[in-house]
């Protein structure tokens, strides 16, 4: 990221970028995936630096962002360590698409991605991610990445999250289609601004998925 763009991003996050430049930055962001990544980091770091008083933008905020980017230890809160859901099912989540539509759409989705499911777990097991987990999302999930040296409480919590694993025998009974449909059905009742997040999620492009043959989904219901 060039110094000029970095300054633009900082100014934008501080609410100080003129409208004309904001338009340019936006155009650049929509074209440049790498820039978006950096931008995301900036914004996250910004939140971390601002702590729990988001209403107050402190003076020198931008320079502190820059310092943080330049290699000072990133605050733990800036490193999201949540288990990710498999992205493949997200495109429809939350639209409130009802049963029939969902079923058809899911078939389409399953042709492109493996059928990750919630793990079948031994009681009280700590979840492990299967190596080479064939999820459509290539970004790291918890457990697949080395744990940061200093775990915050939040991170520790995150490590116990179940992450999708490759569909094991019998484990796909309720597998992805079912979970997706639950989310559909729920979304009609999902409250307030929560729905907005789900909608936004649905528009997100999947990471270029490695084509993985879809595991057949067993249906114990029938």
């Amino acid at each position: 990221m060039s110094e000029q763009i970095r300054e633009q991003v900082s100014a934008f996050l501080d609410g100080e970028l003129p409208n004309s430049e904001t338009e340019l930055l936006l155009k650049r962001l929509t074209r440049d995936a790498e820039l978006r990544e950096s931008f995301g980091r900036y914004a996250l770091i910004g939140e971390a630096l601002r702590g729990t008083s988001p209403g107050v933008l402190t003076k020198g905020f931008s320079s502190r962002v820059n310092r943080a980017i330049d290699g000072e230890p990133m605050p733990a809160a800036a490193q999201p360590q949540r288990a990710r859901s498999p992205r493949w099912w997200r495109p429809l989540a939350g639209v409130g698409v009802a049963a029939g539509v969902a079923a058809i759409a899911i078939v389409a989705l399953q042709q492109r991605a493996a059928a990750p499911s919630l793990a079948r777990l031994p009681p009280a097991a700590v979840i492990k991610v299967a190596p080479g987990m064939p999820v459509a999302d290539s970004r790291p999930v918890v457990g697949a990445t080395p744990a940061p040296a200093a775990l915050t409480a939040q991170n520790r919590e995150a490590l116990s999250y179940t992450v999708p694993v490759a569909s094991a025998e019998g484990a796909s009974v309720m597998a992805p289609a079912r979970l997706t449909n639950y989310v559909f059905a729920h979304s009609k009742y999902s409250s307030g601004l929560g729905q907005r997040g789900v909608l936004a999620d649905m528009l997100i492009e999947e990471d270029a998925p490695a084509p993985v043959p879809a595991a057949p989904v067993k249906r114990a219901a029938q």
């Binding site: 978006r36 990710r84 429809l92 639209v95 009802a98 309720m174 079912r178």
Partner: protein, 350 residues
Amino acid sequence: MTGATRHRANWLVPCAAVGALLTALPVCCFGADDPREWLEKMNKALATRNYDGTFFHLSEGRVETMRVVHRVRGGRVTERLQSLDGSGREFVRNNDELTCYLPDQHTVLVEPRQDRGPFLGSLPQFGAAVNDFYRIESLPDTHVLGRAAHVIAVNPKDQFRFGYRLWLDEKTAMPLKTQLCDSRGAVIEQIFFARLDMPDTIADSELQPAVRTEGMHWVRQGPSRDKASAALSAYRASELPPGFHLTVQGAQTLGGASVPASHLVYSDGLATVSVFVEVERDAAAGQGAVPSGSPQDAPMQGLARVGSGYAFSTVIQGHPVTAVGEVPAQTVEFIAHSVRIVDGNQVPSH
């Protein structure tokens, strides 16, 4: 814990609680800077104003750029939500019909939509019940997008729910920036506008999808044909996190399933959790002689991230149970684990 287990409302009849919640509190009760009044203004602006904006959606370390266009003309609401980052996906809502253009799936989905809330969402009224579990306050004013902004925090009072922070434009009450936060204040998801115009008129062309639909597969959702059965009504959460109560009960025939699942909705007035019980499916079916309900026999158990919330699945009394909602992991776990049969001889012990 709550009166949930006492509810025996008719099938498919949404309980009154949600509606009651949305019933307006008289605005005159609040002072000029009352955060509740600000939220009311925001809801009104989101639903009734024309706007055209580009915003960023940050979640799980990822940022996406999107555009939203919202037009109200002659009592008709048309809305378009578009990804600008390349997926080409778009939603267009015309009053109560939602069309989802998914070019990467070669699919267009059309479905009737009863809730007419704007794409950008809204927050329910903050009645007394909500105040027991959330603290709502104004924070010092600041600037977002070069505009003066009023900042409101909706803080959960315990760890069973998420909170919000909202930066509302002083002039229009539009949410220039919103954050979903956990009870420690850590940001889970964030949306902020890079550009937000509120024109008097919006041309039809701005609401047309950019997607070319030739050759795409159109799927239109027909009417629901769910049936109720006595068995479906037999389940309830026997215990709930503080403040949650049953608001809706019904049956949903989910995609790929041949029989309906029991669907219960619990709410604390702001957050909602759905519980699905596959009453007519025995978790042990076809899996040998393992006693049903044994954890070893569970077809699926565990937690998954869904959108800005979580889903948790387990097996209760031999039946798969899943709780899902925009709440912390422990809330869906708590509720799913507490589901019990409440009919006949199998009344839960608590």
